[in-house]
């Protein structure tokens, strides 16, 4: 089965074409550009390059898998809407997958693991994982969350986590006190591995909804500010 893999939940703009066989996912071609400001510019051009390099047409693709975050919102939406439009244009199913799950699926070994990516505003997106399951996905030990890095170790109490993947594993190595391991970003093969069970079963995809984990910044306005300068003082004086 030929599957397109897209992810824009991190600074990496990722497009790949993966074949899912009995032995697991195998990447046929991929383009990854690390640039947090170029998701909208590069994602579709990269995907078209990938298809040309691998010698396939979009119509031959059996499914589309897209990282649904968590990730900084504007970039994240590029991948999601690209997948939605491609799914519409090619009449192909689109499977969202948690981007942290995709990173976890690509890590070696079965020891408990932290995955942490950049949530900006001095916070990280994170989740903890257990052993790989048949198909390649790791079992989640926690739900994906957003947290200040210094609070993450407390959340891992009793889980036996010793290593960490994701771009924040290296940056917060001291704070986490965990050995950093690859990958830093979701890979095409990891995205497919994390979805392999659903893809093989031909399951109906989950709704194409991003994992925002934060509410929009918006406050309801108070009453309009008075514009007549100093009116209260004037009234006090008269």
């Amino acid at each position: 089965m030929l599957v397109i893999a897209l992810d824009t939940s991190t600074p990496a703009v990722t497009a790949g074409l993966v074949t899912l066989e009995d032995g697991g996912p195998r990447s046929l071609a991929e383009r990854v550009t690390v640039n947090p400001r170029a998701h909208g510019e590069l994602l579709t051009p990269q995907l078209l390059e990938v298809l040309a390099e691998a010698g396939y047409q979009l119509g031959q693709v059996g499914a589309i898998v897209v990282g649904s975050g968590p990730g900084p919102f504007t970039g994240l939406r590029v991948g999601m809407v690209t997948a939605a439009a491609l799914g519409h244009a090619c009449a192909t199913r689109v499977y969202p997958v948690c981007s942290l799950d995709a990173i976890a699926a690509q890590t070696p070994g079965d020891d408990p693991l932290l995955v942490a990516t950049d949530a900006r505003r001095k916070e990280v997106y994170w989740a903890a994982y257990g052993a790989h399951r048949p198909g390649g996905a790791r079992a989640r030990l926690t739900e994906p969350g957003v947290e200040r890095p210094e609070n993450v170790p407390g959340r891992l109490d009793g889980l036996g986590v010793r290593s960490a993947a994701g771009e924040m594993a290296l940056r917060h190595r001291e704070v986490f006190a965990l050995d950093p391991v690859e990958p830093s970003y979701p890979t095409p093969a990891g995205l497919i591995a994390a979805t392999a069970a659903e893809l093989r079963a031909g399951a109906a995809p989950q709704p194409l909804v991003p994992l925002y984990l934060r509410r929009p910044d918006a406050g309801t306005p108070g009453p309009p500010k008075p514009v007549s300068a100093g009116t209260d003082i004037d009234r006090g004086r008269t």
């Binding site: 909208g40 510019e41 078209l48 439009a85 491609l86 519409h88 991003p210 929009p216 309009p224 008075p226």
Partner: protein, 352 residues
């Protein structure tokens, strides 16, 4: 036998409307509207008193593919019938634009058709060709909406547009929203003020006409001072414990807006020696603006063109119409790596 012409899909996500339109470009260069599907997030913004960019962007993502499907259904077409994709590349809200641009690239890439990243403001002018046919060789366009208030000289809808004047502070629609909030009327402020104004006296209160002095910028607008003047007047009335005559305030405010807009537009048309004025954008639906523009254009011997209200507000049909004119002009498509440009100048009709 298939119908002649080429089909252009237009995508608009610059503010709070997700719009997808379909237009047929006929062999003679005329354009026909086939579909105009819009999903609005305006209700989600109402309690914040203005468009919240992140809420708008989230709504665009949800609505994008469903709105495209709805447009195709309306037109009785398949995506495979589409010959070109046009998308608003700017100006607008960065995160909102990005959703439309990314979707347009995916549609164009999947269909193997050219992509045109086009200017939202030019789209507001181009939409009138769906209703009133070809534009004259030169005309003046006035765009009035919640985000824009501009006078544009249009010498070629696909390539030659220059700004004659614009607001130096608030857009006209923004002034409506702020005055509505002051008077405790709902958001967006245009419709409730327009309807209250019908029951009021437009000459009850002499609100200022911004930038109309002899030494002021001839073709620019300012609505911030007007908004403040209304606020002062209302505060004073409340302080003196007089009942605020809401209908008179609305009518007098609306008169000040319509007076300045139409007076400056008609004068600019004279300065540029053009015989046609196109008024578009959300505020073009305002009843007093439309009536005063009709009177003053008639008196000045100008042809006035105002698209129907549905086409004046943001929609995908305007972008499809502009895309069709660009396609007809033989312009090169935009490169596949175009960005969304929140500050796209009006002179740039198509992104290169």
């Amino acid at each position: 036998m298939p119908e002649p012409g080429r089909i252009v899909l237009g995508i608009e996500t610059s503010c709070d409307e997700t719009g997808v339109g379909l237009v047929r470009l006929m062999p003679d260069g005329s354009v026909r509207l086939l579909a105009d599907a819009v999903a609005s997030s305006v209700d989600q913004h109402a309690r914040f008193g203005g468009v919240v960019p992140e809420i708008a962007s989230r709504a665009h993502l949800e609505a994008m593919a469903p709105t495209a499907r709805r447009a195709l259904e309306q037109a009785g077409l398949e995506l495979s019938d589409v010959d070109a994709v046009a998308v608003t590349a700017g100006p607008g809200l960065a995160g909102a634009l990005m959703v439309g641009v990314a979707a347009a690239k995916a549609y164009a890439g999947a269909l193997g058709v050219p992509l045109y990243g086009v200017n939202h403001l030019a789209g507001h002018v181009a939409v009138d060709t769906l209703e009133h046919g070809r534009l004259p060789a030169r005309c003046l366009a006035m765009l009035v909406s919640g985000g824009h208030t501009q006078l544009l000289s249009v010498a070629g809808i696909a390539d030659t547009i220059t700004q004659v004047g614009s607001t130096i502070d608030d857009a006209a629609g923004e002034a409506y929203d702020k005055v509505a909030r002051l008077l405790e009327l709902p958001y967006p402020g245009g419709p409730p003020i327009d309807s209250m104004a019908r029951e009021g006296d437009a000459h009850a209160i002499a609100f200022p006409r911004g930038l109309t002095g002899p030494r002021d910028a001839r073709h620019d607008f300012s609505f911030s001072g007007l908004k403040t003047a209304v606020a002062r007047w209302v505060e004073q009335a409340r302080r003196e414990e007089r009942e605020v005559p809401v209908a008179d305030v609305c009518a007098s405010f609306q008169e000040a807006v319509a007076d300045v807009l139409t007076a400056k537009a008609v004068r600019a048309a004279g300065d540029l020696d053009v015989d046609t004025l196109v008024i578009s954008g959300g505020v073009a639906a305002n009843s007093r603006l439309a009536a005063l523009a009709a009177d003053r254009c008639a008196a000045a011997g100008l042809t006035l063109r105002v698209p129907r209200p549905r086409l004046c507000t943001d929609n995908g049909a305007m972008i499809a119409a502009l895309g069709a004119h660009v396609l007809a002009s033989g312009a090169e498509p935009s490169p596949p790596n175009i960005p969304a440009d929140p500050g796209l100048p009006v002179e740039t009709v198509v992104l290169r």
